[in-house]
């Protein structure tokens, strides 16, 4: 816990530094409208990072999130093409997302295959299905209120609607993970699956659960992203898994499972958003932006991760030696 608290303090410092550097790079950076744009742009990543934190805390991983978002977007589009109302289409897409997550979870939990392998497989599978059902078409023509979700702001404020959606889910997930017995069970599972099982925790159901949550929130992200892009396509959110997993790990969640907080992930998501935005304002091309973002991430992880790894190794040695 101590290490984590220090990690989050460090992230807050990084966030402050990012804001300061951004302000130096462009006078426009610290304006409400710019920050609002930066935040809105990162919301799909942030939304998917919530269940991803749960998955990783359990010691699992979900590589297929980008494809599930794509599949959900394609489902939404197909429903619209069939003339269904937007509400029904959204519900259908939610069902598809949860089903896709359930399939991942069932294979991992009940067949017992490693989640890395399973979700690499379904990454290809779900994207493939999305492409088959929607092909290269882009579906547009959404109602006005729907268009507002991705880009619009709460009237009279610079707060994006998508940020409100995120905050609502963030609160639910944070309470679930850090204050309920089911959340505690996830940490137990991530640290010592055998002891969790011996303690009467239904490990398999818990793992199924986090994958279903992952699929469900991918559907939410698909709705937000489709609205943000004003078009539903089958290639929506290709490669989304990378920024999502980066945010979770940068947020201090151990990739080996068993530790981390959603607060850390929240700050990490904001850091990512502002770094990218500041670079854009400074005229850095998207390609170069990626390089800089990558460097910042690797550097932070190396700087702080080294210290943490040493600490963990020391603890681990002590643990093993009794």
């Amino acid at each position: 816990m101590g290490v984590l608290a220090r990690w989050e303090a460090f992230l807050v410092f990084v966030l402050a530094a990012t804001l300061a550097l951004g302000a130096l790079a462009s006078p426009y950076f610290l304006t409400a409208s710019n920050l609002s744009i930066a935040v809105a742009g990162v919301m799909p990543t942030a939304i998917v990072a919530l269940p991803m934190t749960l998955v990783i805390v359990c010691g699992e991983i979900d590589i297929s999130v980008g494809s599930i978002v794509g599949l959900c977007a394609a489902s939404l589009a197909v429903c619209r093409e069939q003339g269904l109302g937007i509400e029904v289409s959204m519900l259908a897409s939610l069902a598809v997302g949860m089903l896709a997550g359930a399939l991942n979870g069932a294979i991992v939990a009940y067949v017992g295959l490693p989640s890395l392998v399973v979700t690499i497989g379904t990454l290809a599978l779900y994207r493939g299905i999305a492409q088959i059902i929607l092909e290269e078409r882009g579906v547009t023509g959404f109602p006005d209120w729907y268009q507002e979700i991705g880009f619009g702001t709460v009237p009279g404020t610079p707060i994006p609607w998508s940020a409100l959606i995120f905050v609502a889910f963030f609160l639910c997930f944070a309470v679930f993970l850090h204050a309920t017995h089911r959340g505690r069970a996830l940490f137990a599972i991530g640290n010592n699956r055998e002891a969790a099982r011996f303690s009467g925790i239904d490990v398999r159901r818990a793992i199924l659960g986090v994958f279903v949550a992952s699929g469900g929130l991918c559907a939410v992200a698909a709705v937000v992203l489709t609205s943000y892009l004003a078009s539903a396509r089958s290639d929506t959110a290709t490669g989304l898994e990378l920024p999502v997993i980066t945010a979770v790990v940068l947020g201090g969640v151990s990739i080996f499972g068993g530790s981390g907080t959603l607060g850390g992930v929240l700050i990490a998501v904001l850091v990512l958003a502002f770094v990218q935005n500041a670079l854009g304002l400074a005229g850095v091309t998207p390609e170069a932006q990626q390089i800089v973002t990558g460097c910042v991430l690797v550097l932070t992880l190396v700087l702080f991760g080294a210290a943490r790894a040493l600490r963990t190794a020391a603890l681990f040695r002590r643990v093993r030696a009794g």
Binding site: A179, H181, N191, G200, D202, A321
Partner: protein, 511 residues
């Protein structure tokens, strides 16, 4: 105390973790050809001494001398290069590697630059036979029980031809037969001039095997003297600083109606037709050697292993738990034998481990954990089990072995089960705390709890149980009633296998 210059010596060694001083100016001399027994309560600092010698942690003050010259080992490999072999209290194994690979890790026999597997398997097999452990050396270690893993750790140290052998509670997880063999081997090493440090909570082992005895209390040396000059009573008094409570204080409890009824239980590969009844208020001892099937029976009852055959009735109703959570709903608790693998979430604070079994019950609407209640419950049991810790938020991994065991006990007593299965509950627990645990268990029985007690500690089973079932190779071979139990006969029944007959002329029972 002895004329010979010590091979390995600690002088004024101190160590603190944060604000807590766990060792204060400890001196310890290990002479060649002598066994030095190190004793003390749980948390007294014994394993800390071992870890300082092994170079796993660094002392804050004092020196370690090897042949008179100050040294600091940089971990196990370095210690080994200096001729010091260490058996840790919790063996660090590589679960996916084979038994043989674990024994020879980092020093595999080679031929022409490649690992000589044949030689490695053969030598490993031979080494294990020295401890009279017949284990398939090609199995991955994760397939083994804790006793076998402990044996691997011991065998690994024995095979190093070390000048100094440090053993932290080597006998707490292996059964009497292996203990006898270990002591024979130790005697041989002694004759060869090896200096040995031996840690144990068993008074007869401390005084019987040790030539010299050092007793620690709260990180200070209280006495260091020849074993011959101590009586068992004095030893205990030095350890806990007071007279111990009586061990095995099983109160006569009225045994009520059968709570658990087991018929023809078979499964887990070799358990065959085990049947017994367990009444309310009864303590049923399950005795046997390592691998006799005791833990397997416990795990079948608790829904971890699905039996092939057999029936189980709880309070007259047929029960077929298929998972621990179902078993717990039926009112069963199982304290598992391996506290690190099956028992505890080591990075959790004590509180979270203690309450893990009842967290759902401590949660209100929406599953929110009531932290106030949780803290109170954890505090109550930490006090009751006398866990030596800085508080309920101390990380469980940083507790001493015995104190971890007490947390594990708390975890399984807190659900207040109808049937409590204890698999090696007092493993690694000091005399004082052991008496306390026996008192608690006996009290629970008196209140009507039905208890199954699995233990390698024959006096413990005999002292606590109303009835003892002896198992051998998965079958029930003998039953002893409380008034008619005979330790010799019980040990014989447990050990009398064809393999034993073939290789051991006579069987010694532990004193």
């Amino acid at each position: 105390m002895n004329a010979v210059a010590p091979v390995l010596a600690l002088q004024g060694v101190s160590k603190r973790f944060g604000p807590i001083e766990v060792l204060t100016g400890v001196d310890l001399d290990l002479a060649g050809g002598r066994v030095h027994a190190l004793a003390g309560e749980n948390g007294a600092g014994k394993s800390t001494v071992v870890k300082i010698i092994a170079g796993i942690i660094r002392a804050d003050g004092g020196t370690l001398r090897l042949d008179g010259a100050p040294v600091v080992f940089q971990g196990a490999a370095d210690a080994r290069r200096h001729g010091v072999a260490v058996v840790h209290q919790h063996p660090a194994v590589f679960p996916d590697l084979t038994v043989a690979e674990n024994i020879f890790i980092g020093r595999q026999p080679r031929r022409g630059g490649r690992i000589d597997w044949t030689a490695m398997y053969a030598t490993a097999h031979e080494l294990l036979l020295r401890l009279r452990m017949e284990i398939d050396v090609r199995l991955p270690v994760k397939a083994l029980g804790i006793a076998e893993r402990q044996a691997i750790e011991i065998v690994k140290a024995l095979s190093l031809d070390a000048r100094v052998l440090i053993m932290d509670e080597p006998t707490s997880t292996i059964s009497s037969r292996e203990v006898d063999r270990l002591f024979e081997i130790v005697a041989t090493l002694k004759r060869q001039g090896v200096a040995i440090l031996f840690i144990s909570h068993f008074i007869d082992e401390i005084l019987g095997l040790g030539d010299d005895v050092t007793i620690l209390r709260s990180g200070r040396r209280v006495i260091s003297c020849p074993a011959a000059s101590l009586t068992p009573e004095q030893t205990v008094r030095h350890m806990i600083g007071a007279d111990p409570g009586a061990l095995f204080p099983k109160a006569a409890a009225a045994i009520g109606a059968p709570v658990l009824r087991v018929r023809n239980l078979s499964g887990a590969g070799f358990v065959e037709d085990v049947s017994f009844d367990l009444g309310a208020g009864e303590i049923l001892g399950l005795f046997g050697l390592v691998g006799a099937g005791r833990s397997e029976i416990a795990q079948m009852l608790f829904g971890i292993v699905t039996p092939d055959r057999g029936e189980m009735h709880i309070a007259g109703t047929r029960a077929e738990p298929r998972s621990p959570q179902e078993a717990m709903r039926l009112g069963l608790s199982l304290l598992p034998e391996d506290r690190h693998l099956q028992g505890l979430v080591l990075p959790f604070p004590i509180r979270a481990n203690a309450t893990l079994t009842v967290l759902r019950r401590l949660s209100g609407a929406l599953g929110l954990v009531n932290r106030g209640e949780e803290n109170a419950l954890a505090r109550e049991y930490v006090a009751r089990m006398r866990v030596v810790a800085s508080g309920i938020e101390q990380v469980t991994a940083t507790l001493s072995g015995g104190n971890q065991q007490k947390v594990l006990l708390a975890k399984w007593l807190i659900p207040a089960p109808r049937v409590l299965i204890l698999d090696q509950p007092t493993r690694g627990i000091d005399v004082g705390a052991k008496a306390e645990i026996h008192r608690i268990v006996s009290q629970l029985a008196a209140q009507g709890m039905a208890i199954i007690l699995i233990s390698d500690d024959a006096p413990e089973v005999i002292g606590m149980a109303d009835r003892i079932l002896v198992l051998r190779a998965g079958r029930l071979v003998a039953t002893f009633e409380r008034d008619a139990v005979d330790q010799q006969a019980m040990m014989l029944a447990a050990a009398h296998t064809t393999w034993d007959q073939a290789t051991t002329p006579a069987l010694q029972a532990t004193p």
